[in-house]
Symmetry: C2
Amino acid sequence: MKRKKYYWEDFPIGSVTEYGGVTLSKEDIVRFAKEFDPQPFHIDEEAAKHSQFGGLIASGWHTCSLCMRMMCDAYLLESANLASPGVENIRWLKPVRPGDTLHVRSVVLEARPLESKPHIGLMRNRWEVINQHGEEVMQMEGYGMMHRRSHKK
Amino acid sequence: MKRKKYYWEDFPIGSVTEYGGVTLSKEDIVRFAKEFDPQPFHIDEEAAKHSQFGGLIASGWHTCSLCMRMMCDAYLLESANLASPGVENIRWLKPVRPGDTLHVRSVVLEARPLESKPHIGLMRNRWEVINQHGEEVMQMEGYGMMHRRSHKK
């Protein structure tokens, strides 16, 4: 295994990490939605004005995908991580609109070595996606697994 | 409200709908992942060979986004739907690889009118994403809301 910067030990229970800072343009929102979620309030500015949102909003899957990207850039690409089995409780709390700048606040809720594979540590995180007004626009929770520094080859 | 083809009544508890049929190329997988999830096993064919997966696999968020697109094409764009507050229990069960063709099997688990807004019906669905071998590669659950045909203006 290649040497990595971050291991399971670097994310103890209760630790909080803040990162990100991605600004979405109208073009970003429409391009993603045309490919994956072409509902009128995601792709058609005029139709969106008359929707429940009063204007264009990003697909919730776009926000999830951007959260993943911010996570990758902040630590995941430099960590000894394994793939995630899934995520829980995705909540799209507020609309994400053109020009919004998003950050992530990540909290470690749980952390323990796997009983069956003690060289791997499990962690459960909550990720909060926050806009430039400090409003939480999305939240999700999920399990991740990383190699333990104390057990690395 | 514009006249729509599908309303809440069209999705009773226990009803099952199958749809989709999207084939992912290697280029699709790499392009999505370079933008949103640039982990080596999603973007680098050579690195992926030496990973736990033995080859390139799609980002889990790509599979979610494709599931959304298949849902849009099958019924959502022609339905009197409102936005979803969130999804639960996303499970990435098996890798999605270049050349895989994905379908969705959607099951209605719960359906009831909103007490506070009786013109809107709530439903809880489970979406299973299935590959060309009949293997379930992803599963998720979520709430949706649609206008009721019986209450439309």
